[in-house]
Symmetry: C2
């Protein structure tokens, strides 16, 4: 029998009876979502399939609306650059695993509401899980974003895996001066799950992309309810939960603001650069040979020698508390700085500020030439370091850049 | 002129006039706290010093009380083992830096209230800043604690620097089965600061040490007000702020309970092992050659080779999201596991659970032989690994231990 996506069907096979809604699939199996919310895939060979109910016309209507909305001249132009991740993914129904397979256009098809906010065009830059991001991809991504802005986009959305979104958002924050919003968005739960956050995140991201907020920012669920998304500075945000929809949190500062999902209104609470303030500027060279080393008690200081001897150009240490490592690490910190490899100290506490003037070990770390990472997240300090070293300059210039806020990554007075 | 600790004095020197309260000092300088709260140190040579007011008798009375309280037979016996850190430190008034200088007895002198709760005896195990902790010190500390329990202590307090307290508390959690409470306590702000948390933390810790909670736990400020301390499992707690007094937070579970500071009452919300349930048992051997590697996008997988080739026995990876690294790390994970070096995956999100069954990269990581670290903190997974390897057993036994909750380090259902 014939059936289509969204139809409700009954399958009888080998004495078992299943009922569910037909799901998209990339295999020969019939995949359907059961009332329990679970998906099942069954080989139709030898099965009796009965159509119980045709697909609700809702999604068809949505699609038509989407197609109609596309050419509207009055709406601002937004380009979605897709890099992969869950927001651009399909579940592989054979294995149940999620792979990055969708394109930017698929996002538009899946979430047609965004075409009511902007004229959307899509561009696939990568189709990867974000754990596979690399520094050279950031450079290419920055260039692709810049091209779209040059070609007249009023706002950019970067669809990205959540795993490393904070790193990429930080990288683009440093690499681009932007006249328009550049909004990173992702989703923690894939579209086939009833609790998926992809539609709400994408809709809120589109509202920010057409707003006045010309910042590189991350727009994701603010709470576990579907009430609002937070707009985070790309340099102050961190994925703080493996699976919750409100995983993204600003650290050491508030979010720039929020998008209320029911009214679609943006309320800002922190200052931001207004649309059109900056000319587009691209400084996309990065130094990939930077290391992030997390200190743990008793760790062998030889790990620093490894990085020094392997030709690394900068080392970020994720120390303890106010920015400490054990005394036996200090000679190797000195070895690095004397070899012209700057060392930046950050804290595994994540919250709060580095202050190496309080304790003996801290003062010795400063004497060995380490730079205090202020209240930068360790991950952001790493990306900034790659960028600062990529721009060139001598060690004292790099040190000055690392100690000064370039893109809101250092807040003057850390939240207490 | 003669003056003592706590006297209010005026110093005139070189045309300048200072007023303040005399502070303890280890130098020839006169050190005093000014009304501004700042300390100053002045060479008395050539200065005119006037006594304005004698020290309040309060502290003297306190001291007398402390001495009286000491021999009381009715109170339970608590041993304070001092390892150093701020709670056992003095500010060096020449430099303003804090060094670890005090002994356990000094804590009793500074906070005589605790002698009303228990008969306190003190023992200095170390006098270090906790960033200088090492695995062999954990073994010695565990043995020292065991000795005190064998000698009749009804409860143990470990005064410890806050920087690595979570690591030490986790280590002792695995190394000891204890019939009595073993309570780690520290302070985020040194005793000379008006906002010091040392007295409240020490008093609450003493209440827990005489309580029914026979767990290795951490007792520290729960909020920034002086209202209560939280009692954390030693395996679920993390220092989450460089300077705030409520820096210690339970991750992926609630605290065991709280100590209300005004009533000194303990309220528990999670189950705990009751006093006397276990016989004392010491399994203090640790394998120090375990590494914690934090993955960042684009990081060279060669870092795993470095640890494999340097003779490490176990590797904890702090991956992204649900427990990921880039695809090019997977061959080296396999290299490690095939060489008999188990690899445990944890997440830099800190909150939430590892689940490597959802995404392609995750499934490949499992196929390469990595062990899912469940909802263990990366730091705790590292310490547990050192302990599990220290106990011996083949790779499959180690894997089983790492996947099973031994001391509450894995919660069955992670907080959502
Ligand atoms: N592992 C995925 C998770 C996600 O897309 O959210 C990624 O970061 O690409
Ligand atoms: N750096 C100090 C901080 C403290 O004592 O709290 C230590 O951990 O020893």
């Amino acid at each position: 029998m014939e059936f289509e996506l969204g139809d409700r069907i009954r399958i009888e096979k080998d004495g078992n009876v299943y009922e569910g809604i037909v799901m998209p699939t990339t295999t020969d199996h019939v995949v359907f979502k059961m009332v329990s919310g679970y998906n099942a895939g069954i080989d139709p060979e030898g099965a009796t399939i009965t159509l119980l109910e045709k697909a609700q016309p809702k999604s068809a209507a949505k699609k038509e609306k989407a197609e109609k909305a596309k050419p509207s001249k009055k709406l601002p132009k937004v380009t979605i650059l897709s890099t992969g991740g869950t927001i651009a993914s399909k579940v592989d129904y054979r294995t149940g695993a999620v792979t990055a397979q969708f394109s930017a256009d698929d996002i538009v098809d899946a979430i047609p509401e965004i075409t009511e906010i902007a004229n959307i065009s899509g561009r696939v830059v990568y189709n990867i899980l974000s754990e596979n991001m690399k520094t050279e991809y950031w450079t290419e991504l920055a260039r692709a974003v810049a091209e779209e802005i040059e070609n007249g986009a009023d706002g950019i959305i970067v669809a990205h895996g959540t795993d490393t979104m904070m790193y990429s958002a930080a990288a683009l924050s440093f690499m681009l001066k932007t006249p328009v919003p550049i909004v990173f968005v992702g989703s923690q739960r894939s579209a086939d799950r009833p609790s998926s956050d992809n539609a709400m995140n994408a809709i809120c991201a589109t509202k920010v992309a057409v707003s006045d907020i010309a910042e590189v920012c991350v727009v994701m669920h603010d709470t576990t309810c579907d009430d609002r998304c937070a707009i985070h500075y790309g340099t102050k945000v961190r994925k703080m939960h493996t699976s919750r929809r409100d995983a993204f949190q600003s650290i050491n500062c508030n979010p720039i603001g929020y998008v209320d999902y029911s009214t679609k209104r943006i309320e800002t609470i922190l200052p931001y650069t207004k649309r059109g303030t900056h000319e587009l500027e691209v400084k996309a060279t990065l130094e990939p040979k930077c290391a992030l080393v997390k200190f743990v008690p008793g760790a062998d200081p030889d790990i620093l020698s490894y990085y020094i001897d392997s030709g690394y150009k900068g080392i970020v240490i994720e120390g303890t508390g106010l920015g400490h490592v054990s005394t036996d690490w200090i000679p190797n910190i000195r070895r690095a700085t004397e070899a012209g490899i700057p060392v930046v100290m950050t804290s595994q506490c994540l919250n709060g500020r580095i202050c190496d003037r309080v304790y003996d070990t801290g003062r010795d770390i400063l004497k060995a030439g380490a730079i205090e990472g202020e209240d930068m997240l360790p991950e952001v300090a790493l990306v900034k370091f790659m960028w600062a070293l990529g721009q060139g300059g001598d060690v004292s210039e790099i040190a000055a850049v690392m100690s000064t806020s370039v893109e809101n990554e250092i807040t003057e007075c850390t939240l207490k």
